[in-house]
């Protein structure tokens, strides 16, 4: 009996987590339902057009389930979404879910490379800023961060294209590959960097790298600003602790004190920050992908927006929202696992 109680007590946080997840997902769906069915003056007109005869209008209204009470419509909507039915895209006349599945790897590839850049540059620069707090490395990192928070990401992308593609010719232009290479690599994961390596085609790989480097740098800049700022404040907190003094008194090298002892203790909160910045990259990717014609989820959503393809827009919104919530939760979960104090 005691054991049972112990298990129940252990499980309680997870049950609560699941419940809150459920409520959040329902809320997400309620919002997309509201946006798709309630805000438009007449969703039927949006489909059949203004000149449709009354019979067509009525039939469509019935077919869309709009003659039923709103709450029933919402129930049907949840049922459909849970079964992976996000509706048909007007633009591609394919199921939205299928479209999204096709474009997601590109976004995933871009956001991952961007996050790697953000971590590789952001963490060391945050550490340096904390170690030299109040001196020039600190100010430099702060200014870089301020610029990252202030610059419109789409404009930065355009400026990058202008300089590195237009003037210097160092990188590939918009898109994931030169047109010449398009469709030459067999799809396995949908991520060209990996697919080209699997196929063993180094020229395609190099071309893909030259195309991804600029958008991922631009996207990574934002996460760099965030990660370095957070690393700095975590490190400052650790460097003031007594165990650091102890390690120094013991004669440990300064590099070891900073990079092993202090940074090791910063890793836990840092994981949360990195997961959060990854989630925010999904958002940043909407504008970056538009600028670089990168055929990912963000580009899909904005293209659908321009042609008023609501089910594609809302399908994309649901997917991004769920990934966002999932990543937030995942970072929370990681935190609990890695840091025993948080249990």
């Amino acid at each position: 009996m005691d054991l049972l109680f112990a298990i129940v007590r252990r499980m309680r946080p997870f049950v609560r987590l699941l419940l809150s997840l459920l409520v959040t997902f329902l809320g997400l769906l309620a919002i997309t339902f509201f946006i798709g069915r309630v805000i438009p003056v007449d969703p039927v007109l949006a489909v059949v057009g203004e000149r449709a005869p009354p019979e067509v209008y009525e039939a469509t209204r019935k077919a869309m389930g709009l003659d039923k009470p709103l709450i029933v419509q919402f129930g049907i909507y949840i049922w459909q979404v849970m079964h992976g039915d996000l509706g048909m895209s007007l633009l591609t006349s394919r199921p939205v879910l299928e479209d999204i599945r096709r474009v997601v790897p590109a976004t995933f590839e871009l956001a991952t490379v961007a996050t790697i850049i953000g971590v590789l540059i952001g963490v060391p620069s945050g550490v340096m800023a904390a170690v030299h707090a109040g001196r020039w490395p600190d100010h430099l990192v702060r200014i870089i961060g301020l610029i990252g928070y202030s610059v419109p990401v789409f404009w930065l992308g355009l400026m990058g294209l202008l300089l590195f593609y237009g003037k210097l010719g160092w990188v590939g232009g918009p898109g994931r590959l030169d047109i010449f290479y398009e469709g030459m690599v067999p799809q396995v994961t949908g991520m060209i960097l990996i697919d080209s390596l699997i196929a063993g085609d180094m020229s395609i790989f190099r071309n893909a790298v030259s195309h991804i480097i600029l958008p991922s740098l631009m996207l990574g800049y934002y996460s760099l600003a965030y990660i370095s700022r957070m690393t700095r404040s975590f490190m400052l907190e650790q460097l003031g602790q007594e165990y650091i003094t102890t390690a120094r008194v013991k004669g440990m090298s300064e590099a070891r004190v900073i990079w092993v002892h202090a940074l090791g203790n910063v890793m836990v909160p840092l994981i949360t920050v990195i997961a959060l910045s990854y989630a925010s990259l999904l958002e940043g990717s909407v504008l970056t992908e538009t600028v670089f014609a990168w055929p990912g989820l963000g580009f899909y959503i904005t293209t659908a927006l321009v042609s008023a393809d609501m089910s594609a827009v809302l399908g994309g919104t649901i997917v991004v929202g769920m990934v966002f919530v999932g990543l937030n939760l995942f970072s929370d979960f990681l935190y609990r696992i890695v840091d025993p104090r948080a249990r």
Binding site: I35, G166, I301, T317
Partner: protein
Amino acid sequence: MSEKHAISPPPDAPSGAGGLRAWLESETPASAFQAKCVQMWLAWLKFSANPLAVIGLLIIVALVLVALFAPLLMTHDPLAQSLADRLLPPGEKGHLLGTDGLGRDIWSRIVAGSRITLYIVALVTITAPLFGLLVGTVAGYFGGWTDTILMRFTDIILAFPKLILALAFVAALGPGIGNAILAIAITSWPPYARIARAETLTIRKSDFIFASRLQGASSARIVAFHVMPLCMSSLIVRVTLDMAGIILTAAGLGFLGLGAQPPMPEWGAMISEGRKFLLDQWWVATMPGLAIFIVSLGFNLLGDGLRDALDPRSGQS
């Protein structure tokens, strides 16, 4: 504490300091008004000692001045097209920053656009924090189910990435500057509700709240006149910090063609128009982007400075 004592300058005051300064630095203020002035003066001293914050303030003051005197600063009609003068580089034929694809003067369009930017920022920063304040104080003051439902709702909106939600709203409402502002406001109130709720929780059990309730004040009165004013200062700091984000979101919506519609000289939309000429006529897209960058940098610097000056918790950074 006598009036005379408060007004006489402290013994160690510099000899050049006038009566006003002494009055502002008094350690024994005689009235609530003076205490408030002293507090603001000290915050200002702290703020003005931070050069970056002062730069930020100057940028914003400049923005407001440019918007106020826009008709005087514009060298051309921002909407007047002249196909003969299209895509002129900066400085040519009296066009300070060149002309765009329709021969419109970019400098004049940027100056005119400052009004649109301020208009967007002003509307969002009036509506979203007020709504958040209302939700947060009501949730915090009443607690229980009211709190659970309101905060759940807040968290759900917060769970969405802001830009994506704003995009979906504008897609449903139809593009336009009014709908863009509405969408930004709808997606940006939740953090304010969170802050207001946290503040309310710390003051709702205070003696002065009980006192006014004993005097027969209604809950609505207590929330509106006693709780809300106390949440204001932390909200103001947060709003200033968010203004840059609002500008960037609005510009992003404009860039995607969902915000201000042509021919309105909105900066984001101008970048989008300049995109076509990016590689050959770089200035068309570059100039409005610089304007967005400088203004949002100004708001960020100002917000950081205000936070350091007003919020004692983060004073050391």
